[in-house]
Symmetry: C2
Subunit: 312 residues, 2 copies
């Protein structure tokens, strides 16, 4: 495997599928995850440990973790909403667990029915469970700063609140925090500023990744800011599935395929093979025949005589 | 009118409408142009002086120039393919004329049926016609470097060819050159590099603008590179009309509405009022009821409590 400059974390199997009412069969999910990893995607968030009652689409997450863990070299990530979810996750051993904390407390109360203090308490408890495991079995715990760039309920989310929550997430036991533009409010100035300020506060190793939405078409422009400042992990979703499509072409998540092209065209290695990536897209399209997939590069094709940074 | 940091040049009435087979009635075009200018768009390319046989959609360009010239403060631009078109343009007096030269000579021969030498000769002749006018009546002449970032026929277009053509355009009499990603091949590294090299060769005043397509979803990422390097005029098309849509959401031109949001959210003043811009979009939508409009911001709406850089 070639060296990687920017790591793409594919969140389609979690963030994408949770937004689609159709339930993708487990076998199809496995084939898709295998195809994504085969294309060179280094990290995949395969699901979320939420009650099947709430998100039946993700009820097979445990089985997917077990499947994905057999793929050599792949980092297997999951979302956990709380301690109970984290326990279920730890039972199957993902490499990474992400727990969201909504910087807007209004959003936190409405969506997770929890105050900040309650979320931070759960995180401390999760940290305890992780530390009780043998060192080799401990997954990385990331605290995701949801609504960091603004909130549909609260509007402007004060920057000091983002910094305060970042600090508290690490204090509660997160190995790392992540910036998350849940609402599609982010602009490039914020991306650069918040990243630098969290680095100054907590150290550069405590923030490496960002989760951007494309709600107002600004996804890849914000990626440019993330690259400029020096973030190295970027979440994206194949076909742009997930989030809340308002418009023709409006995807919630930024589109993996277009992100790979943006990076590779600039000489940044993603480790991804385009033809296999487009093949993984076909696997997804066949499994979700009624879901519209977004992304321009797979349909426009690569430019004539295009040379990617990653050896193809 | 407030000061402007970045000037948006709206190319929808030309680049957009030439790609749509339906012919927009002249009255509707006038209403749209008036609405765009009323929203604060400082420059509009209202049409192209091509024979009506080739592009009947733009046959009323002369009338639109006369109409647009009555709007105070608006820069009225047109495209002219050749000397004959330039003469027709000069008869009605636009503020700016853009003539394209395809850096890929294969493309130039195929699309314009002219060699580079022939195009440059016409430009010298146009320069002569302009200089024969009283100084106050001379429009600015811009040479647009089409296929500068790559060509669907030739593939890679050598950088030295871009520089050579930029130099020759100015030598032939262009006041300025513009970089044009006709094919949607451009990447941010190229945008920065080509801009800096043309500046070094010809001086900063000889290149201020860029024309980007969104064929592979990279439009606003390339805008970020243009801003970083210091370009100050950016072409865009309302609703992303124009170009060659390959995919759901694949627009040819970058979308004016999303570009304005990108700039204003970063504190860069465009002079544009969002509500009036969205109103101009409604004027367009009503005039082209069967054409799908792109753009995320008009449908997602502005973020709660959003404060634009331009006083609204």
């Amino acid at each position: 495997m070639s060296a990687i400059d920017i790591e793409i974390s594919e969140v389609g199997p979690r963030d994408g599928l949770q937004s689609i009412s159709a339930i993708m069969p487990t076998a199809a999910k496995k084939a898709w995850i295998t195809a994504l990893a085969g294309a060179g995607i280094p990290e995949i968030e395969v699901g979320s440990f939420v009650p099947a009652k709430i998100l039946p689409q993700l009820a097979d997450t445990a089985e997917l973790v077990s499947h994905a863990r057999q793929i050599p070299g792949l980092t297997v990530a999951v979302l956990v909403p709380n301690l109970r979810g984290a326990r279920d996750a730890l039972a199957v051993g993902p490499h990474k667990m992400t727990i969201p904390l909504s910087v807007s407390e209004t959003h936190s109360l409405k969506n997770l029915r929890r105050t900040h203090a309650q979320v931070l308490e759960e995180i401390a408890a999760i940290r305890g469970e992780i530390d009780a495991l043998p060192a080799a079995n401990r997954p990385k715990l990331e605290g995701s700063l949801s609504t960091a760039f603004g909130c549909t309920l609260e509007g402007v989310v004060p920057e000091r609140k983002v910094l305060e929550m970042a600090e508290k997430l690490v204090a509660a036991g997160c190995d790392e925090v992540g910036l998350s533009d849940t609402t599609g409010f982010a602009n490039p100035v914020q991306v650069r500023k918040y990243t630098r300020e969290i680095w100054q506060l907590l150290g550069r190793d405590k923030l490496t990744g960002i989760h951007l939405h494309n709600t107002r078409g600004q996804g890849l422009a914000n990626v440019m800011a993330a690259l400029e400042v020096g973030l190295t992990t970027i979440d994206a979703s194949m076909g742009g599935i997930g989030g809340c499509p308002f418009a023709p072409g409006a995807s919630g998540n930024i589109v993996t395929e277009d992100l790979v092209f943006l990076l590779e065209s600039q000489g940044l290695r993603t480790g991804v093979n385009f033809q296999r990536l487009f093949e993984a897209r076909r696997v997804l399209a066949e499994a979700l025949p009624t879901t519209e997939l977004y992304g321009f590069t797979p349909l426009a094709g690569l430019p004539k005589d295009f040379v990617a940074a990653t050896p193809q």
